[in-house]
Every structure is written in C-alpha cells, then in structure tokens.
Amino acid sequence: MENNKAMEDMNSIENNAKAAYVSMKNVGHKYDPRPETPMVVQGIDLDIHRHEFVAVVGPSGCGKSTLLRMVAGLLIPSHGEVSVFNLPVTEPRDDVGIVFQKANLLPWLTVRKNVLFPLKHKYGSYSASDEKRANELLEMAGLTQFADKMPDELSGGMQQRVGIIRALLLNPDILLMDEPFSALDALTREQIGFDLLDIWKKNPKTVLFITHSISEAVLLSDRILVMSKRPGTVLDLIEVDLPRPRSSKTINSPRFAELTDLIRGYIYEPNVPA
C-alpha cells in the first residue's frame, strides 16, 4: 500500500521532469548561534530537478561543503529549509549517497568489501544478491579484476571510482559529491569525469557536485550554482547548454570557453559588498 503510493509519486515525478526534487528555500547557516558571528552561507535558493546534474562552484571557504552537508541531513541549517521530495530534511536519508573528497576507503577491507561496506555498516550483514550487485557495480566501473585487492594497491583514480560505486550500492536517488576529484592529478581527473558521466547515464541520479574547478563544473553539469566568498550567497545560476554526450571535444567548443569565462568573471571580480 505504502509502496504503491510511493510508486505513484515516483511516476508523477517522472512525468513532470521539471518538478523540484531537492529544494532549498532561503537557506542560511551559522555554526555559532550568537548574533555577532557571521553566516557561513546565506539566502540560498535552489531547486534541483530529478536526475539533474547541478554543480556548485565558488572560492574556498564559501560554504559549498556546508550546503552539501545540509542536503545530506548531516547538518540542519539554522535558517531556511532544505527539503527533498517536499519533505524537510531533518536527518540523513536512505536515498542519498555521498562521495567524499578523498576516496575514504577502509584500508583493511578489500575493494569489494569496501563497496559493500554501507550495507555491512548499516545492517550488520549483506546477502549473496548484494554481493552480486557489488560485482555488477565493480564491472561497470571497470574494476572487476581489482575486486580482491586492497585499496592501497589501486591508483588514486581507481580508488575514487570505488568511492563512487560504494555511494551507488544502496541505489540512492540523490548523489552528493564533495570535491570528489580534487585529490587527483589533472589527466586522471578529466578521465574520471567522463567515467562519472557514463555511470550517471547508465544510472540516472540527481547529482549535487561540489567543485572548485570551473572547467570541471561546465564539462559535467546541467546547471551551475556560482557562489560568492563567505558568507556564501548565490551569484548566478547558469544553464549549461552544451550538448550531451560530452567528450574531450566539448572542451574545445567556443561555448565551453564562453561559459568558463563567464564563471571566471564571477570568481575573480566578485561583485559583492565586502
């Protein structure tokens, strides 16, 4: 009964692709409730549609990660409201997967067991079918032959691919990525970006992607939220009208250069009151 209702809701969302899925209304936050302390982020309004890829760019310390933690339910905003599917976020949800800055793998578990860790950690055990799912994810990420290796035997790029498929294990509808590629070298970074787009195409997710790389944001996302320096506010919300599938050719297109220039202008000439 409950399930049917949920299915209907899902269908109606599916039909109305532009419906807000993740919604932030006038969201602001300060860690210290005293009035004289400054806000970390302020007045953020953002609606993310289902299966949309939204990137957030902004200078260091502008509260990008704070924003992500609010959607994750790890942090409750002191001002405004974050809601998913019209329900206010008050605690971490089961349909959210997080990819962290570092791959964050447990060094004492094999790659396969790391992928299965969310189940082991949440419920204490996993079934044979879960293991099958993990193997499918490993295959999708091209990591089958590394499944029984330890994380430190993998390159940084491979480790982060494990981090991504671990976040996909519980089949979340929302994927939150907190500067996931910032620890990687430039070449690996570009490749794993395309890998991510490939994974996203095969498993459509609503993605919130935090990055401080402007070109990465333009290359990957549907829309980009540009944030000011602290206290972080919305400077612009940019529609990325580059055709998909994106490839290394996308980077050479004039429109790509225009978009990156536009954002670079915001970052380097911040028209916000100091």
């Binding site: 994750a72 605690e91 800055q101």
Partner: protein
Amino acid sequence: MNPTYQPKSWLAQQANRFAPGLFFIGLVLLWELVCRFGNVPNYILPSPSAIFTAFFDVEFSRWLTHLWATLRVALMGFALSIVIAIPLSIGMMRSELMNRVFYPALIVIQSTPVVAVAPLIIVLLGTDDPSRVLITCLITFFPLVVSTTTGMLETPPEMIELSQSLRAPRYRETWQIRIPYAIPHIFSGLRVSITLAIIGAVVAEFVAAEEGLGYFIQFSTSFFKIPQAFAGLIFLSVISLLLFKSIQWIQAWFFPWSLPKKKY
C-alpha cells in the same frame, strides 16, 4: 651510463649491511680488552667472557624457573592492562561523562611513581603474584589508554560522516571504523607497554620475591656474584627484546595493512 649515479661497490654494500653487527662486536671486543689489560676486577666490571662463563655456571633449570616467574608476572600484568585499557578508552571516547570522571584519575595514577607505591601494594595484597601483577599493570596501562584514545579520535571525520549518513548504530561506528583506525596506534602503545611490563615485573621482584630474573640479579649482586648478575641482566634484555619483536610480528601477521608502507 649515467655519470651521476654509481652503484655502490661490493665492499661498500657489505660494509653497509654488516655495520650494526660489526659495531656491536667491536664494542664487546673493546670491553673485553679493557677488562683484561686494564686489570679491572670482576666484581667491578666483569669481562664479556666472564659473563658468558657465569651464564653457563647457573643450571639451565634454574634459569627457566626465574625466567618463568618474571615472564608470568609480566604477561599477566600486560594482559590485565589490555583488558582494562581498551574498554576504558572506548568508554572515554564515547561518553563525555566517563572522560571527565576517569581522565583526572588516570593522570594522578600516572604521575605517582609506581616504584614508590610498590612496597605499599605488597603490604596491601601480600607477597604473591596478585601484587606483582597489579604493579606491572599500573606501569603498563597508561600508554595503552593514550594510544587507543588517540587512535580512535584520529579517525578521518569524513569516515564518521559516512557512518552518520547511513544512520548506522554507534557501536558499529566504534567497532567497524574507530577501532580498526586505532590499530596502528594501539600497536605502538603495545610495543611500549610490553617493555614496561618487564620493568614492572622486575620492580615488583626487587620489593618482594623468591624467584624471577629481577630477584636473581639482586640476589647475585648482594653476594658479589657480579658476572652472574650481568648474565641475568643480559638474559632479561634479550627476553624484553623478543617480546617487543613478537608484538611487531603479531601486527605484521594479523594486521598487515596497518604497517607503514615500505619505500622501494
């Protein structure tokens, strides 16, 4: 041929390899020469050869009796401090109240010289194993508490966020994330503690004992059997070294991932 890089010659390689051993042998030889030609009497500083002879003058079964007495106390005290320290650290990490209650008490215990308290413990618990085990435990458990707590608190915060985002029960956060992350720290604590355990057992034997290597050294010294005392001391150091090594072997065998990465 790269002119800036030259492989070391065979001789240089061998010298490099055997240098620590050669240094040790040289030191022992020097000691022997000083004793022989400096006319140092045996009851002041016995020569290595005299110590060697003294070692075999003592019956092997007597060595084993003394060794077992010391080892038994050291290992029991060490085990007891593991059993106390690790659950205590987990408790202090998880509960602010427990931390506030126990932390000052731990500092007080640690700042009290156990050597000075040892006679009082003997008065309190008698001259048998329990008092010696308690003395050993008091000396060994503080490094374990510190290392376990440090290790658990140094778990990457993102790992804890992963646990929170899954809404996993807290005991699994402790058991599946924090404790494994603390393993390298716990083992460095264990390495310190195991050598302290031998010291603890010897201190206890100095105060009250009828057997054990510490007792043997004290007893030999009081009868001016200095070479024999030196033999006991060297035996004790070797045992201590072996215990230290075995902690490393246990870590390498059961937790190979926790060792620092080898540089090639």
